[in-house]
C-alpha cells in the first residue's frame, strides 16, 4: 500500500485560503491509513474550525473517489462533483491523486492534503506502518528469505549485515529491526544459510530508468 501522512493543517490552510468554494476528495484506493470519506469529512470540519482562526470562511464540498490514480475513473466521477462554482480541489490521495486531477482540470488549482512517504504494510498491534518495498525494479526477495533489504536496511545493503547491527536492531535507530538480522534468522529456519555465501554484485540502480514508464 502507498503510505501517506497528513500535512499540517496550517500548510493546507495556506494553500486553500485564497479560495472559498473547495472540493475535498478522499481516495478509496490503496492509501494507508485509508483516506476515504471519513477522513475527507473530518478534514473539512477541521479546516472550517482552523479557518475561523484566520477569519476565513470556506464552503466545502466533500466526496471520495474509487482510486484517484486511475485517470479514467477519476474523470468520470469528477464530472458530477466539479461544477463552475468549484475554485480549487484538495486531494487526500497519495501524490498520484493531485497529478491526475491537475491533468484532467488544467484550469483548476489542486492541492495535496498528504505527504506520500513510502510503500509499506501495517503492523496492526503496534499501530505502525512500516516501509517494505523500495520499488527498486530488481527484486531480491527470492535470495533474502522474503525480507527486503533494499527498503528495510538503512544502507540498502545486499551483502549484510554491516557492523552497526546490534542485538538485531539497527545502529541508526534502536527502534528499528536490522533487516539483515531478520534475513539470517529466516534463512536459518529455511535451512538455507549457505545462500549467503554467494556475494551479490552491486545493485543495478538503472533497472528502472527514471522516470519509469512501462507497457504492461
Amino acid at each position: 500500500m502507498i503510505v501517506t501522512t497528513q500535512k499540517p493543517l496550517d500548510e493546507i490552510l495556506d494553500f486553500i485560503s485564497p479560495y472559498k468554494n473547495i472540493l475535498i476528495v478522499g481516495c478509496d484506493g490503496c492509501t494507508q491509513p485509508p483516506r476515504g470519506i471519513r477522513e475527507a469529512e473530518t478534514l473539512s470540519q477541521l479546516l472550517d474550525l482552523g479557518g475561523k482562526l484566520r477569519n476565513k470562511e470556506f464552503n466545502f464540498k466533500v466526496n471520495t473517489l474509487v482510486k484517484q490514480c486511475d485517470s479514467h475513473l477519476t474523470a468520470v466521477a469528477l464530472k458530477d462533483m466539479i461544477d463552475d462554482d468549484v475554485e480549487a480541489v484538495l486531494s487526500l490521495a497519495c501524490g498520484l491523486g493531485p497529478q491526475t486531477i491537475a491533468i484532467l482540470y488544467p484550469e483548476l488549482p489542486v492541492f495535496p492534503a498528504q505527504n506520500t512517504v513510502f510503500i509499506g504494510a501495517e503492523e496492526r498491534e503496534a499501530g505502525t506502518i512500516e516501509e517494505r518495498c523500495a520499488a527498486c525494479g530488481d527484486c531480491v526477495l527470492g535470495l533474502t528469505g522474503g525480507i527486503c533489504p533494499v527498503s528495510r536496511c538503512a544502507k540498502s545493503l545486499l551483502n549484510g549485515p554491516c557492523g552497526g547491527s546490534q542485538n538485531g536492531k539497527c545502529e541508526i535507530d534502536p527502534e528499528k529491526d536490522c533487516a539483515w538480522a531478520l534475513i539470517i534468522e529466516r534463512l536459518e529456519k529455511l535451512g538455507r544459510l549457505q545462500d549467503l555465501e554467494a556475494i551479490q554484485p552491486p545493485k543495478d540502480h538503472q533497472a528502472v530508468a527514471r522516470p519509469g514508464k512501462i507497457m504492461p
Partner: protein, 388 residues
C-alpha cells in the same frame, strides 16, 4: 492546611451484620466480587471487582445490600413521577444494552403510550418494583432484555427471565391474568452498507468476535450471531460502510446539534460508555452539560467529536471504562488511539486542550462527578481567556 482524608463513596455496600449468610449473592455475582467470610459465611464485597450490575441487590432476600443506583426507592419514586408525566398505565422496562429508541419500543410491544424505564441491565430490577408498579395501578408491564448470549453482565438477562416467569405465575394466582408481564429479548447489531465498502479490512481486524469477513474480490460480510453490537467496526470504518442499530452515525449527529443548541456556553458534551457512567433517575444535567450515552466507548467516533466542536461545543469529554471493566472484550479501549490522533490534530488549531478522555467506573459515583467538574472549570477558564 491539614490534609483531608475522605473515604471514596462506593456504589454498592453489604451490611455484614444483618447478612443471613444465605450465599445467594455469592453464587449469583458474575464477577466473583463477593466472598464469604471464612467463619460466619457472611457476604463480603470486593468493590474493585464489582461491576455494579445490581444482580446481588435485586436477589438478596435479606435486603442487606444497598446500591446508589436504581434502588427500590429511586425506582418507585421515578414510577410515581413518570406515571403522571406519561399519563399511561403501561410500563416498559428496558435494558440500555438492547433497547432501540422509543419508536422501536412501540413496534416491539405494539404500545403507543407508555412509561419508559431504561436501566443498565434489567437484572437489577427486584420483584418489589413489579409489585409496586401494579399496586400503583399499572396494568401492563413489558420488559425488554438482551438476548441471553449478549447480556453485558453475563447473567442479568437470564436471571430476570426466570424472575419474571415466577412472577407471572404469582400474578395469575392473584387474578391478574397470565400476561401481566411480557418479556421480550433483543440485541442491537451492526448494519452493513455493502455498496460503500472499500475492502480495507479495518472491521475484520478490530472486531473482538471475528464477526466481519472480507473475501476477495468483494465486500464485507458480517456474521450477525457473532456480532455483539459494540460499534468498534463502525467507528473504525473509513468509508462509513458500517453503522450500528440505534447508534447510527446520522442519529448521533442529529443528537449533537440538538444538544449543542440546548446548552448555554461554555458547552461541554460528554460521550459516555453507558456502562461507565449511570445516569440518575432524578437529576437533570445543568445547562452547560449534555450527555450522549453510547453502547461502549468503542462507538466513540472521531467524526462526532469534530462535529461537536464544529457545532459550537466548547469541550468534549469522553468517559470510558478501564480495560479490565470493559463489557465488550476490550473493544472500548481501541478507540483511544484514533482519539489521541485527533487530539493532536485539534492541537494544531488550538483545540487540543478542549478534548479529554478518561476512564471511570460506576463503582465510584463521585469520581466521574469530580472529573467532569474539573474539566468544565477548565473549559470555562479557556472560554474566559478567549473573551478577555
Amino acid at each position: 492546611m491539614s490534609e483531608q482524608i475522605t473515604e471514596e463513596i462506593v456504589a454498592v455496600k453489604v451490611s455484614e451484620e444483618s447478612c443471613s449468610a444465605c450465599e445467594v449473592c455469592y453464587s449469583i455475582c458474575p464477577y466473583e466480587a463477593i466472598k464469604r467470610d471464612a467463619e460466619t459465611g457472611k457476604a463480603i464485597l470486593e468493590i474493585e471487582k464489582c461491576q455494579v450490575c445490581g444482580l446481588c441487590y435485586s436477589a438478596c432476600p435479606s435486603k442487606v445490600i444497598d446500591t446508589i443506583y436504581y434502588d427500590l426507592d429511586s425506582l418507585t419514586g421515578y414510577l410515581e413521577r413518570a406515571k403522571q408525566k406519561y399519563d399511561s398505565d403501561t410500563l416498559v422496562i428496558m435494558c440500555k444494552g438492547c433497547a432501540p429508541d422509543l419508536a422501536g419500543i412501540e413496534r416491539q410491544f405494539g404500545v403507543k403510550k407508555f412509561i419508559p424505564l431504561s436501566v443498565p441491565c434489567v437484572g437489577r430490577i427486584p420483584v418489589e418494583v413489579f409489585l409496586k408498579a401494579i399496586t400503583m395501578g399499572i396494568k401492563k408491564i413489558n420488559v425488554l432484555a438482551c438476548d441471553e448470549d449478549y447480556c453485558r453482565y453475563q447473567r442479568g438477562s437470564p436471571i430476570e427471565g426466570r424472575r419474571i416467569a415466577a412472577l407471572n405465575i404469582l400474578m395469575e394466582q392473584l387474578g391478574y391474568g397470565t400476561e401481566a408481564i411480557t418479556l421480550k429479548r433483543n440485541s442491537l447489531k451492526v448494519q452493513v452498507k455493502e455498496d460503500l465498502c472499500i475492502a480495507c479490512g479495518n472491521c475484520v481486524y478490530y472486531c473482538p468476535w471475528d464477526a466481519p469477513k472480507l473475501v476477495s474480490p468483494g465486500n464485507v460480510k458480517v456474521d450477525m450471531d457473532a456480532c455483539h453490537g459494540c460499534g468498534l467496526c463502525v467507528s473504525m470504518c473509513p468509508a462509513f460502510a458500517l453503522d450500528l442499530d440505534n447508534w447510527e452515525k446520522d442519529r448521533i449527529s442529529m443528537l449533537i446539534s440538538q444538544l449543542a443548541a440546548e446548552m448555554a456556553p461554555p458547552k461541554v458534551l460528554v460521550f459516555c460508555c453507558q456502562w461507565a457512567v449511570f445516569p440518575s433517575l432524578e437529576d437533570e444535567p445543568d445547562e452547560h452539560t449534555r450527555f450522549i450515552y453510547l453502547p461502549c466507548a468503542a462507538r466513540v467516533d472521531t467524526v462526532h467529536i469534530v462535529e461537536a466542536f464544529h457545532t459550537g461545543v466548547d469541550g468534549v469529554l469522553i468517559a470510558a471504562c478501564a480495560e479490565d471493566d470493559c463489557k465488550l472484550e476490550g473493544a472500548g479501549g481501541k478507540t483511544q488511539r484514533p482519539v489521541a490522533a485527533l487530539q493532536k490534530r485539534l492541537g494544531e488549531i488550538g483545540l487540543g486542550e478542549q478534548l479529554h478522555i478518561l476512564t471511570v467506573a460506576p463503582r465510584y459515583p463521585e469520581a466521574f462527578e469530580r472529573e467532569l467538574l474539573q474539566f468544565s472549570q477548565k473549559i470555562a477558564g479557556i472560554q474566559k481567556g478567549e473573551s478577555a
